[in-house]
């Protein structure tokens, strides 16, 4: 077996008797881009939430690089290098773009807590230039001093991606990174994600847009009704009849 970074082992999760996830067994290998697809309500977001500690699985566990993530606090999981980019942009609306990106940079550098109340925030020049570089990279360089809350929805999503990248994650979990984006922006985001891939960052992507999935993914897991129905390379998945069945009436694969 290749170098497995994230291993979701036999995870079950139900809400009020409703099985959201059952028998989930999933391995993500170092450096790969792993897409999780499936029709609405298949349990994709629940799975992602289990991975980052927002939800606790009823049984089974999630192992990242030899560390059991189950039961860990969200900030602990993040400090291990597992970073999630949310579907609804989770940013700091009252803070400037620069501050929004510098916070994750500092969190990566200084750990979960550091009482540095006598330094100047704006004097953190290394963190600052790094954050500026990332914002520049994502085309937000001109808005750097503005308030994050006043951004357009698409820009907010890009800002969140910037916040995720600022942490140089070992595993990046992306929840529909291009949902609600115009085609032009979608292509830009795909290019960007391809560039990250070249740097060897492991990614898990949840995505509806098959164009995005097939241009990025090395391997694909298909979820339906809280179960994995198919797993393999894009070609294998394309060919699998069960996938077509699950998506029947949803989208053309």
């Amino acid at each position: 077996m290749e170098n497995v970074v994230l291993h979701v082992a036999d995870v079950h999760k139900s809400f009020a008797g409703l099985h959201a996830l059952s028998d989930i067994d999933l391995s993500v290998r170092e450096g790969e881009t792993h897409a999780i697809i499936g029709p609405n309500g298949a349990g994709k977001s629940t799975l992602l939430n289990v991975c980052i500690g927002r939800l606790r699985p009823d049984s089974g566990h999630v192992v990242f690089d030899g560390e059991n993530l189950t039961g860990k606090q969200p900030h602990q999981i993040n400090q291990l290098g597992v970073v999630r980019v949310f579907q609804t942009p989770e940013i700091f609306p009252e803070l400037s773009l620069l501050e929004n990106v510098m916070i994750p940079v500092l969190a990566k550098r200084d750990g979960a807590f550091k009482l540095s109340w006598f330094k100047r925030f704006s004097g953190e020049l290394d963190a600052r230039s790094k954050a500026e570089g990332i914002l520049e990279d994502l085309g937000l360089g001109s808005l750097i001093g503005g308030e994050a809350g006043s951004l357009s929805r698409g820009d907010k999503r890009r800002l969140e991606l910037a916040m995720g990248l600022a942490q140089e994650p070992r595993l990046l979990l992306l929840d529909e990174p291009t949902a609600g984006m115009a085609r032009h922006d979608t292509n830009a985001t795909i290019d960007l994600l391809k560039r990250i891939k070249a740097r060897g960052m492991t990614k898990v992507i949840i995505e509806h847009d098959m164009h995005v999935v097939f241009s990025l993914a090395d391997r694909i897991t298909v979820l339906a009704g809280g179960r994995i129905i198919c797993q393999g390379t894009p070609e294998e998945v394309k060919a699998d009849p069960r996938v077509k069945e699950a998506y029947l009436g949803e989208e053309q694969v």
């Binding site: 993040n78 609306p93 994750p104 109340w117 330094k119």
Partner: protein, 382 residues
């Protein structure tokens, strides 16, 4: 840009320091330049500046900070009684003691957020207040309040050979009496130091993290930050400010009573902070000074004054006007306070500083129409 902001902070700091130290001069036209009142400006300013570090930065609304004020006062008076009339150790001990209590209360209360946090702090403050009134009487002297007596040991003073006098000793700073103007300058110095620390915290990575918590606490956790220690530190620091303010109250008037810990007193510091502008640097001091100034003016009026003021009115309405105005002055000052509270929250939730900013923005916009002044950076937290 970094150097610029650092310089503007120094300008702000020195401007503040000069304004505070010259209060005896420029407050004269307002008739507010006597030490007793100016001491209160400084003390409550310090209290509000500290409260703002918690409420203004993190958004956590504590309804129990008066407890730390009370603890500070009691500790200071005990330091006067047992050790020395020198004020420095008293202030140090008070800050330390308030910090310890703040840590204990904050550690528990900060396990909850939102209104639950407010209620928890309120519950702790009420417990402190009730206990100070009842079983803790040996320490707090209950309803009478803790006072100096001739029989106090004052061990350090005794060792230093300062003779006990027939009258009660006065608080001093290495021999300098801490009443009147010297007392004011001591409080002013404490306020200026407190303001300086507050600037540093606001501009530090720690301060930005606290603002991040206010903005989106969940996101902080998913960014790998443990928000609890950040919040606990903010709580403890603001508790220490309250302890220092309590100590200064005892410095200028060496007695301590439980009523200082009542939750309405906690409400007052909340009002000071939001009136001036929560989350701004100078706002809380402005709010505190304004409230103490108006308290002073309004409480001084009585029916006789009012009759004189409204003397010009026809006799048929004058008594009614006096009666209504009488509601707001003298002992009715609290009514004015409540009204101020409501007006601020309803019409100006950002406080005075927000009002100033809006007016400033108006001017800026006018200017922009004529000369296109580019690169306007948002003037946050001035």
């Amino acid at each position: 840009m970094n150097k610029m902001s650092a310089i503007s902070d120094w300008i702000l700091f020195f401007g503040f320091a000069i304004a505070v130290l010259t209060m005896p001069i420029w407050l004269a036209p307002f008739g507010a330049n006597y030490p007793d009142l100016m001491q209160r400006f400084a003390i409550f300013g310090l209290f509000a500046i500290g409260f703002n570090i918690l409420f203004g930065l993190t958004g956590y609304l504590s309804f129990g900070h008066a407890a730390f004020l009370g603890i500070g006062s009691y500790t200071a008076v005990w330091s006067f009684k047992l050790l020395t009339m020198n004020v420095l150790p008293a202030v140090m001990f008070s800050i330390l003691m308030a910090g310890i209590f703040a840590f204990a209360i904050g550690f528990i209360s900060l396990r909850r957020s939102g209104i639950y946090f407010s209620i928890l702090t309120l519950a702790f403050a009420q417990m402190s207040y009730n206990l100070a009134y009842s079983v803790l009487t040996p320490i707090t002297n209950g309803e009478t309040g803790l006072q100096l007596t001739l029989a106090d040991p004052r061990m350090i003073d005794a060792m230093a050979g300062i003779e006990a006098t027939r009258t009660l000793p006065t608080t001093n700073l290495f021999g300098m009496k801490m009443s009147g103007m010297p007392g004011f300058y001591f409080c002013a110095a404490a306020l200026i130091i407190g303001f300086f620390i507050s600037i540093r915290i606001f501009r530090s990575p720690f301060g930005v993290m606290l603002r991040g918590i206010k903005s989106n606490q969940n996101r902080m956790a998913y960014t790998g930050l443990n928000t609890r220690p950040y919040l606990i530190w903010a709580f403890v620091i603001s508790g220490m400010y309250a302890g220092a303010a309590g100590a200064l109250m005892a410095v200028t008037d060496p007695l301590a009573g439980a009523e200082r810990m009542q939750w309405t007193a906690s409400g007052e510091v909340v009002l000071m902070t939001i009136l001036g502008g929560a989350g701004t640097l100078v706002g809380p001091f402005l709010g505190a000074s304004l409230i103490k100034y108006f308290e002073n003016i309004f409480s001084a009026y009585n029916t006789t004054n009012l009759n004189q003021i409204f003397d010009f009115m026809p006799d048929s309405i004058q008594p009614y006007v006096v009666d209504i105005a009488g509601l707001f002055v003298g002992k009715g000052w609290h009514l004015t306070l409540g009204l101020l509270f409501m007006i601020t929250v309803i019409f100006l939730p950002g406080g005075i500083m927000e009002g100033v900013r809006r007016i400033g923005l108006l001017f800026k916009r006018n200017k922009k129409n004529t000369v296109d002044a580019g690169g306007a950076t948002p003037a946050a937290n001035s």
